[in-house]
Symmetry: C2
Subunit: 494 residues, 2 copies
Amino acid sequence: MKKNLEFLSKALSLLPEVKETLVPPKEGQFFSKPLGKGDSVTIDFGKHLVGHLQVKMGYVNSHPDAPVWIRFSFAENLKEFEENVENYQGWICSAWVQQEQLHFDLIPGEYTLPRRYSFRYVKIDILDISSKFNLVIEDVMAIALSSADDSKLKSYHNVHKELEQIDHIACHTLHDCMQKVFEDGPKRDRRLWMGDLRLQALANYETYQMNDMVKGCLYLFAALPMQNGQVGACVFLEPEPEVDDTSMFDYSLLFVAALWDYYVETKDREALEDLWETAKMQIVLAQKQVGNDGVVKDCNKLGWCFLDWSLELNKQAGAQGVLLYAMKSAVAIAKEIGKDHDAECIMKTYELYRKAAKMHFYDEEKGLFVSGDCRQISYASQVWMILGDVVDEQSGIRILHDVATQTEAIEMITPYMYHYYIEALLKCGDKTEALSVMEKYWGGMARLGADTFWELYNPNNPDESPYGGTIVNSYCHAWSCAPAYFLRKYYSEK
Amino acid sequence: MKKNLEFLSKALSLLPEVKETLVPPKEGQFFSKPLGKGDSVTIDFGKHLVGHLQVKMGYVNSHPDAPVWIRFSFAENLKEFEENVENYQGWICSAWVQQEQLHFDLIPGEYTLPRRYSFRYVKIDILDISSKFNLVIEDVMAIALSSADDSKLKSYHNVHKELEQIDHIACHTLHDCMQKVFEDGPKRDRRLWMGDLRLQALANYETYQMNDMVKGCLYLFAALPMQNGQVGACVFLEPEPEVDDTSMFDYSLLFVAALWDYYVETKDREALEDLWETAKMQIVLAQKQVGNDGVVKDCNKLGWCFLDWSLELNKQAGAQGVLLYAMKSAVAIAKEIGKDHDAECIMKTYELYRKAAKMHFYDEEKGLFVSGDCRQISYASQVWMILGDVVDEQSGIRILHDVATQTEAIEMITPYMYHYYIEALLKCGDKTEALSVMEKYWGGMARLGADTFWELYNPNNPDESPYGGTIVNSYCHAWSCAPAYFLRKYYSEK
């Protein structure tokens, strides 16, 4: 399918301006210290930020007679400084590593580094300098970038100060991912992913309320469909708006849920009507993957359905759950805009799929959902079956408690999956357990000193990287901002 | 002494505009070849140039989903590519090495690298790139910079095609060093040195005739004296015009010779009058280094007097020769502008020093000049004693022939010293030997494929670097442009 230029133009007009804020370093004790070859300075800006670095450099001794060769390393997490890009052997592109070698021909001078970085810490290593002079860092300033306006953020109150802190970190995470679009992570990828957008939008409604930005992002996805009309897993904004060639079963379907969320929040009927065809198309395309037995066909193509950052997780049951979940939103949208026939058709199919799901995936003996030919037990399968209404709340709560006792159950990896786990717990009425999970999981990152929440967090191995090195980990990742949504919506003392 | 702001403003108004010329690569066979991690492309621009690099980059396969990390290496001489900056252990600052690591966030895109380089060859190494796409170099262009105008350069004719080629290379060397000022080398140092300026100015009069540029440079030196009024060895133009804290006995004195040369060429009396006090001051200051015996005191301070790039060379006799040489120019200037008393005084002192030089430095037994307590024999000492008129032409020619038979005589290292050797040969009337030296020395570089003449050339070891690595050698160095001066002035078929 071609780009929808009307939607694209609407999308671009809705996207916000990115604002600049000057942030000084937390401490300035490095100023005026003369630096020679091999010397190094580490600067702490006191909080995570996204943006540019300004450096004012002077010198002592003779007039500079050669360029200065400097490495700038940017870290969201101090442990990134323990690794060097030259030693990184992971599979993800090491061009993401925020280490820059620059030559400065003119000293004294004020320089703004041209690229954008995501960091709290900056390390400056003098790789070489003429023996005739020493460098002096006279001033350093970060130009922080975000489209979120902190003055519009209401403070969150809770007697448990740890919860206030978790909310604060979650808001900060969202804030730093809010640029021209909702980026997944400002350090790495730096683009709009559908699954991430859905969670960011939910948190946004409770915090910064940049609802036009959500709308712009939804229109972007609708404007840039893949060949067959599917919503892509992600889109690029620059150099030109383009959809990626990656699609994922669940991410495309979450467009439907995100559209409905947006309408519930804004009552923006125009958007609902504009984007209905795109939403409906996602259901139609997903149905093509459903067999005559009403069950999503399993697939061994890597990444066909996301659910969680796990290679061993079987996605079949989860995919069925996401489809059911999206169909509920589709029915709600269709009803709202008077597409009664569509609503009826989808509802009918939904009921078929729901029953098929129960029949196919529920293991009566184990009392749990299983997935794939291997009849794999996982948190993800239970969560999505519950969110798809395959069981009632009472069974749901029993299942969620039982799966926790199964040592062979595939665990959750990402805060993204944890979001839906919390949602499932809340849906089944277990507010206490939901809160306890947030305190353990997101609280765990907070206790490790996180300024922003991470792309991945394994409480049993906090340094884990699925990429082969923490220097490419994203320590500010928007799909991790869930607590701002849940705490403010369900645990607020108003 | 303070800056002379009137001279400075005059200087800056005289300095030329640097013009841009687009230069395409010699061959474009690398275009459209998809490049992955570890791939490399070498581009030949067909000639040495100074300037910026423009690259247009596209891609094949999936949309770029990560930055591309590229190393650009710039070489004047292909052999620079055999060395890596990480392995360079020499004493000169490795920040001069023209290797740049850059990250490109947006592909496709057209980029101009921000810094200026001096190169004929560019090597592009893809240090890392996402596995989802390959880079395609769609176009490369150099933006060559020079203030010299080739359309104003008359062609040089000689039946010996090799001499035409040597002249061509010398002109090209000068051309690429002519930027805002006469730079010593556009790759390294990139600034105005007094000794180099004098030779560039001489070559300029026979070639590009940018005489206002010479004048601007002379005013710059005069505008930016050192504390005691001495002309510095070099000045910086950026970020602000400043004199370096390096001075050299001979370089300061050559200001006087360069001023007289300029007047002989232009008859610009205003400049002669303006700059006389500066010229005279150089003689006065040099005289302070002369003992009661009329001989320049030897000094063991490294670099007190340049003469040649040699640590073992004793500079005493050479320094005396340069002083005598400069005094002759000073007398000529003083006479020309009616400072008869000054002319007389300097002439009288000159005669004293000249006799003292003969008495002190001439070894009757050896028939050669010796220098220092060690009574060292060198080419440099003979050349400068001859140029200082310590012996007549007949003795001079005998001495120059004899020194060549002395195996212990300290050889010449740089084209800079060779220039004065040629001048001494011509002064003594040996045009044949002077030409033969040019054919051997500069012709030797030409036969090794030089596009421009080098900072250093040792015929017995062409890869020699006094800096500990050829990657910091300057292969386009203005003090090497002498043949353009000598060939056009003394060996022209008009």
